[in-house]
Amino acid sequence: MAHAESAAAPAILGEVKPAVLPRAVLVANNRSFSWITEKICGIIEGKTPVWWWWCFAVACFVASFTVAGLTYLVATGVGVWGHANPVNWAWDIVNFVFWIGIGHAGTLISAILCLLRQKWRTSINRAAEAMTIFAVVCAAIFPVFHVGRIWYAWFLFPIPNSNYLWQNFRSPLEWDVFAVSTYGTVSVLFWYIGLLPDLAVLRDRFEAAGNKLRSFLYGFFALGWRGSNRHWSNYEMAYLILAGISTPLVLSVHTIVSFDFAVSLLPGWHTTIFPPYFVAGAIFSGFGMVLTLMLPLRAVYKLEDLITQYHIDCMCKITLATGTIVGYAYAMEFFIAWYSANPYEGFTFINRAFGPYAWAYWIMISCNVITPQFFWFKKVRHCTWFVWILSIFVNVGMWFERFVIIVTSLARDFLPSSWGYYSPSIVEIFTFFGTFGVFSVLFLLFIRFLPIMPMAELKAVTPQADVHGGDHP
C-alpha cells in the first residue's frame, strides 16, 4: 500500500507546484553591494559626531570610578569591600557572573546561529561579538582583584613558581580560570577573523582618500587580504570551524561558572539544575544587552534597512524563550527544594522569597519572569522604545539573579549562630558602577573605528550575491 503511494507521488508532484514560502528580507529595500559599503564605512569615515564626544566624555568619567575603586583596593586591601563572615563572596562574584553572562549572547549570535544557518545574525553579530569581548574584560576585573594581592594573580595559572606548588585542578575555580581565559581568547580570535575582510575594505578606501596613516593601520591588520576566492574558500571553512568550537565553548563556560557554586555543598548552590539554568540565564541577559545597545545604534545611524523589524522580532523571541526557561528554573528550584525533603534546602528557598533579601528576590522575579512575557505580543515587539525599556529590566533582573543566588545562600547557611547580613561598601558600588563606563568607552571606540556590521557577510545574504540570479534550479 505504502509502496504504491510512493510510486504514484512523482506524477502528482509534476502537476502541483509547491508553494514558495515567503522568506524574510534581511537587507530591506533591495540595497546594492556598494550601498552597504558606503553605509558602514561612512560611519567610520564621517566626522566624529558631537554626541559621540559627549558620550565618550561621560563614559570616561564613569570608568574612572572603577579605576579609583581598584586603586584604593590594591593600596589598602580587600577589607575596603563589604565582605565579612559569612558572606565572603558578594558583589565581586555577582558582577563577574553578570558580565560574563552578558558576553554569552555575542557568542550565541556569532556561533550557534551561524551553525543553525540563521542568516539574520549577520547584521548584529559584529557588534554582539564586540560586546562579548568588552563584557569579558569587565568580568575579568573582579576575580583578578578579589584575590586581594593582585601581584599574586598569576598563581592562578600553572606557571612554575618558587614554592614548587601547582594548582589544584580538582577545583572548579581552577577550571573557571581556563574556561574564562579560553573564552576571552577565542572570542577575540573569532572577532578578528570576521573583521579581516572589512579591514581590507577600509584599507583601500582610506588609501583612495589619501589618508596614509589610517590606510597603513587598517592595512597592517588586514594582513594583505585581497578577496581571493581561493582564500574565501579556506576562510569560510575556518569560520565554520570556529563557530563549531565556539558553540560547545560558550555552553561550557557558563556551565563551569555554575560549577563554582554547584560543586560546593551550600544549600541553594548545590543543585544539578545549575549548568543549564546558568546558560539560559546568560543568553537571556546577553540578548537583553544586545537590544539595549543595538536599538539606539540603529536609530542614531539610521540602520533600519540592515537591522529590520524582523531582526528585532527574532531577538525579542529569543529573549522570551530564554526568559521563560529561567522562570521555569526558578520554579523547579523551589519544587526540588520541597521534593528533596532536605530541611536546609527548603529553608534556603523560603528564606530567599520571604527572608531579609526578599526585596532582591522579587525584583529578580518581576524583571526576569514577568518582563519577557510582554514579548508574546507583536505590538510590543514593534514598539522600539518599549522593547528598549524592557531590555533594561532584563539587565537589572539578571544582575539581581546572581545577587540572590550568591548572597542569600551565604548569608544564612546551616547554623543560625553564624548568620549575617551583607551590604556593599561604597567602594564596591563605585567599582561596579564604573565597569559600565569601561564597557561604554570600549564600545564607543569600537563603533567609531571599526565597521559595526560585517560588510562581506551582509553582501553574501543579499539577492545580488546569488550566482543564479534568483533563478535556482
Binding site: 581571493s228 575556518a238 570556529l242
Partner: protein, 177 residues
C-alpha cells in the same frame, strides 16, 4: 613577450556573470588563476573547481594536541612533579582533568584553525601584484575579477584574452609583476 607580466585581469559586474565565467575558465583547463570577490559566493568554489579546504585537518590536529596537553599537564603537575594528596583523592583521574582539557582542546583548535587558514592562504602578504591594480578596490566593494596568472602552462596572451572576453570580462588588463 615584451615586459614580464603577472597575468591578466578582467572585470565582471554581477554574481551570475562571474559564476559562469569561472566555469568557462575552469573548463578551459587553467590551474593558476583566481577570482576576486567582495564576499564569498555560494557555489563559486565548485564553479572554480576548488577542492575542499584542508583547514579542518589542521584544526583536528590542534584539538588533539590541546586535549593531550591538558591531560598531561594535570597528570604531570599533580601525580609526577609534586605529589600532593588533596581530600584523600587519587593523584590523577581523567574525570577532574576533563574540564581543563576540554577548554584547552577548544583553545588549541582555534589557534590551529586560524594559523592553518593563514598558512594555507599564504597570508599575511602585504604586497601582491593584484593589489597594485588601480581598480582592485572595487573588488572589495561591488565588482568581481578573474585573474589568470602568466605562469599557468596554458597562458597565452592572445588566447587567454580572447577567453576572458568570450566569458564576458570587461576592461581586460595586464598586471605588472
Amino acid at each position: 613577450m615584451a615586459a614580464p607580466s603577472y597575468g591578466l585581469i578582467a572585470t565582471f559586474e554581477t554574481a551570475p556573470e562571474i559564476y559562469h565565467a569561472a566555469q568557462q575558465v575552469r573548463d578551459a583547463g587553467y590551474k593558476n588563476w583566481d577570482v576576486i570577490a567582495p564576499c564569498p559566493l555560494h557555489g563559486l568554489d565548485q564553479a572554480m573547481g576548488l577542492k575542499r579546504s584542508i583547514v579542518p585537518r589542521i584544526s583536528l590536529a590542534g584539538g588533539l594536541i590541546g586535549f593531550c596537553t591538558g591531560m598531561s599537564l594535570i597528570w604531570w603537575t599533580g601525580a609526577s612533579d609534586y605529589k600532593l594528596i588533596v581530600g584523600g583523592k587519587p593523584l590523577f583521574s581523567p574525570m577532574f582533568a576533563f574540564p581543563v582539557s576540554y577548554e584547552l582542546t577548544i583553545l588549541f583548535t582555534a589557534f590551529a584553525t586560524i594559523i592553518g587558514m593563514f598558512v594555507v592562504n599564504g597570508l599575511p602578504r602585504h604586497y601582491h601584484p593584484v593589489l597594485k591594480y588601480d581598480q582592485i578596490k572595487r573588488g572589495m566593494d561591488d565588482a568581481f575579477f578573474i585573474v589568470i596568472e602568466a605562469r599557468d602552462p596554458r597562458f597565452n596572451l592572445a588566447n587567454t584574452t580572447a577567453l576572458l572576453a568570450k566569458a564576458g570580462g570587461k576592461s581586460i588588463k595586464e598586471l605588472e609583476a
